[in-house]
């Protein structure tokens, strides 16, 4: 071939700065048309920023973007879309109150006019059917399961003649079978001539689907696009992690962190360590329905001291409600909750914390920390809430204790007066650990404790949870990352529609756990 085809998408020395932070630094990469390209890297590597630059949502500080050989105006979604670049977001960007048909229409361009409800459904029915999305077009987004929402977001992205489709971490929210369905869909798009760029962070997924792979680390391109036949899982793992950190991790830990192999969890699981009476004992707990999520439906759950129990499940199957029920933030319709032998069914959170309940909440920056308060105020909240309201505080003494504790947890910070919002994600999580993982902790709820953290910080959190377990604390770990669950849990409990749908012990089998995550019939206990 004398004339190679023009790249479908090419970034020329793209740099993006947000204030002092450089998210992308001189990234130059070009993607050949008609293939499936993977972009991988740890959290904070700049993958999402790269995708948003291509989609026009982020204006690069420097550099240019070409689509099919033509330079586009950067920083304008309409320009990127006109050139045929579409982006499917990690946590989908669909207005929850919209119907499926409305969702399709609001993103469309071209002829609009006044529609009727029926006409709109007619208009989009064939489009969705052509993409194998089976759904009633008059249902609302908020009522649909996550797999369907993703199908709709992909269909939304393809309402126009998209030539480059970028999917930002599409597998993060899916069950194993959902991932298979997604990959089948992606392969069909490739057959239709669409260039697909998948942002992923698990090596086995990359090896299973992509034609080429590009690795980002710390905002720079490390390597790529490499043809997939030329890279081994081993090499890819080292490229993602980086040599400096790779040395500090044992091989097994590294494999779990980058999802090299099918997770089996051979290193976890010491249920024999867990002895003694249950720290947490939930008996037939159901909650009243409320606006914040689906209700629990007869949950039985026991956690003993010295064990980590992982909660698996597709997001939105009652995990948040479970945490709210244990922390007295949801109304129980029936059932009882015992903490360390005491019945706390009607007890407020303060009483439960006094017994030894600790929470690393889902939303680090909303529930976990007050970003506009200082580190010592955030750190001392636990003790201050337990003392009487009229207890006199000496701030200097609290600050000293805070400094000691934060140093022990190797938090990188200037001084304890700085605002919590000025810390990176990993350091912010360490502040929460310093507060919640103390020697009086008897039950620690760790809700998505590593979400958004880079590999070093993730390994740190895992280590902290293991140490707390070895000291005899009971740990409830909620995660949507099966590698994480399988690596550090002693038992895994699967939640589906607010119920417990299976319980597993190591060695974990991804197929049966995956089946329990989606299929009500797979009620098994291995």
């Amino acid at each position: 071939m004398s004339n190679p085809p023009k790249p479908a998408l090419e970034c020329r020395d793209v740099t993006v700065k947000f204030g002092d932070v450089t998210a992308l630094s001189d990234v130059a990469v070009s993607f050949a048309p008609g293939q499936i390209h993977a972009v991988v890297g740890q959290n904070g590597a700049g993958k999402t920023t790269f995708a948003r630059v291509a989609a026009g949502l982020v204006q690069p500080t420097a550099g240019a973007v070409d689509v099919m050989g033509e330079e586009i105006r950067t920083g304008h979604v309409s320009q990127s879309r006109a050139a045929g670049v579409e982006l499917v977001h990690q946590s989908f960007a669909l207005p929850p109150s919209f119907t499926v048909a409305e969702t399709m229409e609001f993103g469309a361009t071209g002829k609009g006019g006044i529609y009727s409800r029926r006409g709109l459904a007619e208009k989009w029915r064939t489009h969705l059917a052509g993409l194998d999305v089976q759904v009633d077009l008059n249902r609302r987004i908020r009522d649909l399961p996550i797999e369907t929402q993703q199908g709709i977001e992909i269909a939304r992205a393809l309402v126009m003649d998209a030539r480059v489709l970028i999917l930002d971490e599409p597998t993060a929210v899916l069950s194993p079978s959902g991932i298979d369905m997604l990959f089948a869909r992606v392969r069909r798009l490739k057959q239709r001539g669409v260039t697909v760029i998948l942002i992923l962070h698990k090596i086995r997924e990359v090896l299973g689907i992509a034609d080429t792979v590009t690795v980002l680390r710390g905002g720079r391109k490390v390597e790529g696009p490499l043809p997939i036949a030329e890279v081994s899982a081993e090499r890819l793992a080292n490229l993602i992690v980086g040599d400096a950190i790779a040395k500090t991790l044992d091989r097994h830990e590294r494999d779990a962190l980058v999802g090299t192999k099918s997770p089996v969890g051979e290193g976890a699981g010491h249920p024999e360590n867990a002895t003694g009476p249950s720290v947490l004992s939930m008996t037939a707990v159901s909650t009243r329905p409320d606006s914040e999520g689906i209700a629990l439906d007869g949950i039985d759950l026991d956690i003993r001291p010295g064990e980590i129990v992982g909660i698996a499940g597709v997001e939105g199957n009652g995990q948040k409600t479970l945490v709210r029920a244990i922390s007295a933030l949801a109304d129980l319709a029936s059932g009882s909750i015992r903490l360390a032998g005491q019945d706390v069914t009607g007890a407020p959170l303060a009483a439960r914390r006094a017994i030894g309940l600790r929470i690393i909440p889902f939303e680090r920056n909303v529930e976990g920390l007050s970003l506009t308060s200082s580190l010592w105020q955030n750190w001392s909240a636990r003790e201050l809430l337990q003392g009487s309201l009229l207890k006199v505080i000496r701030p200097s003494a609290v600050r000293e204790a805070c400094d000691r504790s934060l140093r022990e947890w190797s938090v990188h910070y200037h001084n304890s007066m700085q605002k919590a919002g000025s810390l990176s994600g990993g350091n912010a999580q360490k502040v929460i650990l310093a507060r919640e993982v103390d020697s009086d902790a008897r039950l620690i709820i760790a809700a998505q404790p590593t979400r958004g953290l880079d590999i070093g910080a993730t390994a740190f959190v895992w280590q902290a949870l293991r140490q707390a377990r070895d000291r005899g604390a009971a740990i409830l770990l909620i995660s949507s990352d099966l590698d994480e669950l399988f690596d550090i849990s002693d038992r895994v409990v699967v939640m589906l529609s607010g119920r417990v749908n299976g319980e597993f012990r190591a060695p974990f089998d991804i197929a049966s756990v995956g089946a329990a995550m989606t299929d009500a019939a797979a009620r098994t206990s291995a």
């Binding site: 949502l57 979604v77 309409s78 929850p96 919209f98 409305e102 229409e105 609001f106 609009g112 606006s291």
Partner: protein, 297 residues
């Protein structure tokens, strides 16, 4: 019976126009608490416009211009200066109520109410008993229908709602939430001007200080009660007007037996009831989250 219907339409029409302005703003993600101020600016500008130009058309155009300018100011303060939308809206209300009093004082040299020689044209004898109503009352159902089509049956309406509900989703398809809010508040400005004009020059023909007497807030309550839906909010506004008209009726029938103040308070009590009911029905969660997303921008 006709009398009651006429009374309801007279008091309900200005409220409905202003309610529609609130609906559009709400759908775009702005809690517009400046409705009261916009309405009184519209009322004052209409009467002053009639006095100065001697033309009702010119007067209404002046009112529209003033209200749109005030709405753009609100947008600028919220969107560009990043002020809290609630406080900015209340500020606009203060500006409207105080500014119109100042304008009347400086133009006519007294704080007394200003009476115009004529108002908005009436429907005329061809409509029988209803001929005393102004043409903007007759136009009201068509405007409600038009806004319903715009918001619920066009892509523009979908994008507007997306901007309020999920600004990031709107941005992802190329819409500009900031510009959409500007458009929404500007359309609202036009509607508030017509609402204010109808209040001052529809059945009456005068402007007095503070004459909106909380109708803008009542309209805002109708937006919440009606779940930001154009027809729902219009029905809520109409409900408040019905309660008000029945209150006046009751006053005439029972005279002194019921405290006069209590009957006058009826529409306001109905408003409180309506907001309570809507909170009961929907938990009020959606509105709170859309406000949070607006701040996130």
């Amino acid at each position: 019976m006709n009398e009651i219907i006429i009374a309801i339409l007279r008091s309900g029409t200005p409220l409905i126009y202003v309610t529609l302005a609130g609906v559009i703003a709400q759908r775009a993600g702005v809690w517009n608490l400046g409705l009261e101020g916009l309405m009184i600016i519209g009322a004052c500008a209409t009467i002053v416009g009639i006095m100065l130009t001697n033309s009702i058309l010119a007067a209404i155009l002046i009112a529209i211009l003033m209200c749109v300018l005030a709405s753009v100011l609100l947008w600028f303060v919220i969107d560009r200066l990043k002020a809290n939308p609630i406080i900015a809206g209340l500020g606009l209300t203060g500006l409207g109520v105080g500014g119109t009093a100042l304008a009347v004082q400086s133009i006519f040299g007294s704080q007394a109410s200003v009476t115009a020689p004529f108002g908005i044209p009436k429907l005329g004898p061809a409509f029988g008993a209803y001929g005393v109503l102004s043409i903007s009352v007759a136009a009201m159902p068509f405007v409600v229908f038009g806004i319903w089509v715009l918001l619920r049956r066009t892509r523009f309406g979908l994008r507007l709602a997306a901007c309020g509900e999920h600004p990031f989703a709107a941005r992802s398809v190329g819409a500009n939430p900031s510009r959409m809010r500007l458009v929404a508040l500007s359309i609202g400005g036009v509607l508030c001007a017509i609402g204010g004009a109808e209040l001052a020059a529809g059945s009456l023909q005068f402007f007095a200080q503070g004459m909106t007497a909380g109708r803008g807030f009542m309209a805002f309550a109708a937006v919440i009660f009606g779940a930001s839906h154009p027809v729902g909010a219009t029905s809520a506004a109409l409900f408040f007007a019905v309660v008000g008209a029945l209150g006046i009726r009751a006053q005439l029938m029972f005279g002194d037996k019921i405290p006069h103040d209590l009957l006058q308070a009826l529409p306001y009590l109905a408003t409180v009831f309506g907001v309570w009911l809507s909170g009961k029905l929907r938990g009020g969660a959606k509105a709170a989250s859309s406000f949070a997303e607006l701040k996130d921008q």
